[in-house]
């Protein structure tokens, strides 16, 4: 017999697959794109949730990684499509339109950025950590705005979506399947990591740093590792998001983006592996349904978020599946 949580996971993943498939049969590409957004936002949220839910690191600067992933896609594709090089000295570095390479670069650079931001930010905790991560993301935001080479404030458009072996990525359903596959992969990895030795130690550090120190381990090293993994996942989501829109702009670096990623996590259920996916799906659903009613739909979103924080701390997952049971 499946637990409530496993049932909810299955229902959620089935819904995310069946909606775009149905839309494909009904020839409603807009719905497919909408679900693809939910899937990509879900991946971004899973990234943040790894640091926030498992490690207790409240980062309000994950737009830094989301945006970096976006610009990796934008810059590499721009150079490939204009037949120019990123640099010519000391060696020539061409752009690329191969998605897999773009993802790898996005993951590696985001991990590196997270290592830098984490190493500095993790000297603080609590409110100071929130503020310093926010500050780093804002720095990148203003840098992106003021750097004219890649569009500055206007952002950077890509005419054709990047290539993935054997697929026509301009076909919405095919690009959706690519994103959905990546979501499954990321979920699997995070699921395994939450149950690994690292996950056990990280969760213990979140609950009680003193205990972990008394057992001979340094919480800071666990936090930094978690932050790097977290940034890498959100960076991958950024690259996908830019590819979905064929457009990247400084907005991806903005604090509103950081806030939205955090909303996915809180709506879904902090610390639950599938939580951010549910949160992102609900967010997109609200944006679509409420956004049709009024331009000021964020007011309603705010009210719902308040309700969740006040009355349903565990988000959707806490509400439906109850408290998390200990992993075996």
């Amino acid at each position: 017999m499946m637990s409530k949580e496993a049932l909810l996971n299955t229902a959620l993943m089935a819904l995310l697959l069946l909606v775009p498939l149905g839309a494909w049969f009904a020839d409603e590409p807009f719905l497919i794109t909408l679900t693809t957004r939910a899937v990509i936002f879900g991946i971004a949220g899973i990234g943040l949730n790894f640091a926030l839910g498992l490690g207790g690191l409240v980062s309000l600067g994950h737009a830094a990684f989301f945006g970096l992933g976006g610009y990796v896609m934008g810059v590499l594709a721009y150079h490939a499509q204009t037949y120019t090089s990123l640099m010519t000295w000391p060696f020539e570095l061409p752009g690329t339109t191969a998605m897999t390479i773009i993802w790898l670069v996005a993951i590696c650079l985001s991990a590196l950025l997270a290592l830098g931001i984490g190493a500095l930010s993790l000297r603080t905790s609590g409110v100071y950590f929130i503020m310093i991560t926010l500050a780093f993301a804002q720095m990148l935001y203003y840098f992106a705005i003021s750097w004219p080479a890649y569009g500055g404030e206007d952002g950077l458009s890509i005419y054709v979506r990047n290539r993935f072996v054997g697929l026509n990525t301009m076909d919405p359903i095919q690009f959706f399947m690519v994103c959905y596959g990546l979501l499954l992969l990321v979920l699997g990895l995070v699921w395994a990591m939450a149950r690994s030795a690292f996950g056990l130690a990280l969760g213990a550090a979140r609950q009680n740093e003193e205990r972990v120190r008394a057992l001979g381990q340094k919480p800071q090293r666990l936090y930094l590792t978690a932050f790097v993994i977290s940034g890498a996942i959100t960076g991958l989501a950024g690259a996908l998001f830019a590819d979905l829109n064929r457009f990247v702009s400084p907005t991806m670096f903005s604090w509103q983006t950081s806030g939205e990623i955090m909303i996915f996590v809180i709506l879904g259920g902090v610390g639950r592996v599938f939580g951010p996916v549910a949160g992102a799906a609900l967010f997109i659903l609200l944006e679509y349904s409420l956004g049709g009613l009024s331009d000021y739909w964020h007011v309603y979103l705010g009210a719902i978020l308040l309700g969740v924080v006040l009355f349903a701390r565990g988000g959707i997952y806490g509400l439906i599946a109850g408290r998390e049971v200990a992993h075996d």
């Binding site: 395994a192 990591m193 149950r195 690994s196 030795a197 690292f198 996950g199 056990l200 130690a201 969760g203 213990a204 609950q207 009680n208 003193e210 205990r211 972990v212 120190r213 008394a214 057992l215 001979g216 381990q217 340094k218 666990l222 590792t225 200990a326 992993h327 075996d328």
Partner: protein, 251 residues
Amino acid sequence: MTDPILEIRGLTKSFGALSVSQAIDLDLRPGEIHALIGPNGAGKTTLVKQIAGALQPDSGSVRLAGQDVTRLSTAARARLGMGRTFQISSLAMDYTVLQNTVLGALCHRGDVFRFFRPVMKDAALLEAARRALDEVGLGALEAQRTSELSHGQRRQLEVASALTLEPKAFLMDEPMAGLGVEGSQHMMGFLDSLRDRAPILLVEHDMDAVFSLADRISVLVLGEIIASGSVSDIRSNPLVRSAYLGEDEAA
């Protein structure tokens, strides 16, 4: 005489004008239980913190198994073999009893940076954890969430967690507190047998426990060791009687 496992020399610490540790000398020899007693506010916990590495002394030194650890972090001292239990239970409250103990065994083995194999299916860790739980008498509660344990059971879990480290010396801050009569008896029997594996520096309020368990007793009053010796020495020491025992009886 054998070399002490834990050797504290001239440990001094003050907070402003308040002197909490005054040139404290203390050692822990193989095979013994050395009890540290003293009235409330004597500076016992401050001393334990300095020995464990949570607080830096102003001067003096702490040596563990011959190595100077005075400037080392809590984590480094734990890796060198200091097994600590806390006065106020310090555990991962959302974890099960077994998870908390596996955590100890894992940290002792040292390979926390493994990302994919499920840790709660690691046979070697489970075996070490279950052995420690059985020793303290928590074997039947391994699936219980730690936050649902009684205070006494949390103490037992602290001890089990320290056991998984296979330490060279135990540093126990009131392991008997809140245990109840039966629990206390069981824990005393257990600590009694534990001293052969590694010596115990025992901070304890329960006088019966101290007098029946300890090989040696040191008495801390206002940050100073006023007496140190065997149980009978301490019982008959007039300074101790007036400073501590008398007060205890009056209360």
